[in-house]
């Protein structure tokens, strides 16, 4: 195991993050504040409570998940796509490192950035709503797992993408709709029965539901199901990455 290389990749990627720290910090604070103003104050004043929680507090887990998933995906996909685009990938390919170590470096850095954004949003939320976290350890575990699994997904997208449009395609056309439709801002029980059934095919539902359980102790689907869902998602991403590694898909001719 070439720990020096993993460390070098991780620190180099984090340096990119720190160069734009103000942006990295301000944009989630601003967008969260906007969500609270629009959803919390304007709509929330008309919705009393959802599952015994004030609407403002109810949307916090969904808001965090929305940002964490998009941030993890875009950070990781950009992280590995950029070296491909500017040609510096030659160095990764000629260095004494395994593909596995490359993944740890890039995915680790992307997940760290997403985790930071998630925590910033959580912190911002405290300024707007009363928040009690029922299961803090589970909350952290869910958050970290989501950061990691979506960073893995982002890494796959970054390897697959051959131009900037493709890089944006999946986050924009798949992840954002799934997150919006995955119960970020509402409880599934608020939907008509048909849509409740359809929604259960959206994998993001299980992640948001499980994360919400860690906050309020109540969820749309059982916590066990949520855990299986995120484990399955991570396993699928790892399997695809293993296949990329075996075949050298789009990286090594």
């Amino acid at each position: 195991m070439n720990f020096q290389a993993v460390k070098a990749i991780y620190l180099f990627e984090m340096a990119r993050f720190f160069r734009t720290l103000a942006q990295s910090f301000l944009s989630p604070v601003l967008s969260t504040s906007l969500y609270f103003v629009v959803f919390g104050a304007a709509i929330g004043s008309r919705i009393d409570q959802v599952e015994g929680v004030s609407y403002g507090a109810f949307i916090v887990p969904g808001l965090i998940m929305l940002s964490v998933m998009t941030q993890a995906t875009s950070n990781a996909s950009f992280g590995i796509y950029f070296p491909k685009f500017i040609g510096t990938i030659y160095e990764l390919l000629s260095a004494p490192i395994s593909f596995f170590e490359i993944v740890i470096g890039y995915v680790g850095a992307a997940a760290t950035k997403a985790l930071f954004v998630g925590l910033v949003i959580l912190g911002t939320a405290y300024f707007f709503v009363d928040l009690q976290i029922a299961h803090p350890l589970a909350m952290f575990a869910f958050l970290i797992l989501t950061c990691l699994s979506f960073s893995l997904l982002g890494f796959i997208i970054g390897i697959w993408a051959q131009n900037f449009e493709q890089l944006q395609l999946i986050p924009l056309l798949v992840i954002t709709p799934l997150v919006f439709l995955g119960g970020s801002f509402y409880s599934i029980s608020m939907l008509p029965p048909v849509w409740q059934t359809i929604t259960l095919f959206n994998p993001v539902v299980y992640l948001i539901s499980g994360f919400r359980w860690s906050f309020f102790g109540a969820a749309d689907v059982g916590i066990g199901v949520s855990l299986i869902a995120i484990a399955a998602f991570t396993a699928i991403c790892l399997a695809i990455i293993w296949w990329i590694f075996k075949t050298g898909y789009r990286i090594r001719s």
Binding site: N2, Q4, A5, K7, A8, I9, L11, F12, A15, R16, R19, F82, P83, I86, G87, T88, Y90, E91, L92, L93, S94, A95, P96, I97, G248, R252, S253
Partner: protein, 308 residues
């Protein structure tokens, strides 16, 4: 001298079906400078990329200091440094950080003193905190070299190190290569510029259409193939070589103002002395004489033509 790089019957066929390497054999001794010459598309970059791990060989075997580049890739790659042809660098990062990254990637711990040494050696120390995008093309090339040297490699590949670089910088680069050689680094460089090979290489390899045509010490190559020409300017033009001089490998120039004599400067006798005496006997008056030795470039063009 021990062999540090061994390439045995390596082929590379790309997915498109293009055969970039057709059975390449190459042995490189530790500490030498080998210049790999070849026209565009000859397979120079593919060969380097294959040795360095950027592309996988279709068949054959490559070892670096005894380590197989596939089964023992970690050990093999630790020994190699690569300066690619393209100026591929992270534009927004500071010079020193990109060099530190390279050192880390190759599994070495931080060593600021060593990084300072190579940055100074490459006249980059003053620019260490500049962003890569702020540098000129020549400076970027140096950053690439610094990155390649950051992990103290024993073998350095320079893929067209002076392409698009001005004359002064090219000379500087040769200086750097010379210093590296004196530190014991083995250097393999590809180039279009024959004068570059002539100036710095110990041995010259010629590659064309995926095959190595020859690898020879530069001096031997030039001696073996370097025919010398003696041009004798005449006071009065001739239409043909006089009969008394027919035994010499002599021909008249197109305008008849000169006679051109070809000889082997390494042969036991060049025949120049008797030729000049016989010229006088034939009543020809000379106004000037000059000699010319074919350059590596001419040799190279001839070789490539032969195999085309």
């Amino acid at each position: 001298m021990s062999v540090i790089l061994s390439v045995e019957n390596v082929t590379k066929t790309y997915d498109s079906g293009f055969e970039a390497l057709k059975g390449v054999d190459l042995q490189i001794d530790e500490g030498e400078i080998l210049a790999l010459l070849g026209p565009n598309g000859a397979g120079k970059t593919t060969l380097i990329s294959t040795i360095c791990g950027i592309t996988t060989p279709s068949s054959g075997r490559i070892t670096v200091a005894g380590h197989d580049i596939l089964s023992d890739y970690r050990q093999a790659r630790r020994i190699i440094g690569l300066v690619p042809q393209e100026l591929s660098l992270e534009p927004f990062e500071k010079v020193i950080n990109t060099v530190r990254l390279s050192r880390g990637l190759f599994g070495k711990g931080r060593d600021e003193a060593y990084i300072e040494k190579i940055l100074r050696q490459l006249s980059l120390w003053d620019k260490r905190n500049a962003k890569v995008m702020e540098l000129s093309g020549g400076m970027k090339r140096r950053v690439l070299i610094a990155k390649a040297l950051s992990h103290e490699p024993r073998v350095l590949f320079l893929d067209e190190p002076t392409a698009g670089v001005d004359v002064e910088l090219r000379k500087d680069m040769w200086q750097v290569v010379e210093e590296l050689k004196s530190n014991g680094v083995t250097i393999i460089l590809t180039t279009h510029y024959i004068e570059e090979a002539e100036a710095i290489a110990d041995r010259v390899g010629v590659i064309n259409q995926g095959r190595i045509l020859l690898v020879e010490p530069k001096v031997d190559l030039m001696q073996r193939m370097g025919r010398k020409q003696l041009t004798i300017e005449l006071q009065d033009p001739v239409t043909d070589v006089p009969d008394s001089l027919k035994d010499y490998d002599l021909r008249a120039s197109d305008d008849g103002n000169a006679l051109i004599y070809c000889y082997d400067s390494n042969g036991p006798r060049t025949g120049i002395t008797t030729l000049l005496a016989d010229l006088q006997k034939a009543g020809l008056h000379m106004t000037d004489i000059q000699t010319h030795q074919s350059s590596l470039e001419e040799i190279f063009v001839d070789l490539v033509k032969e195999t085309a």
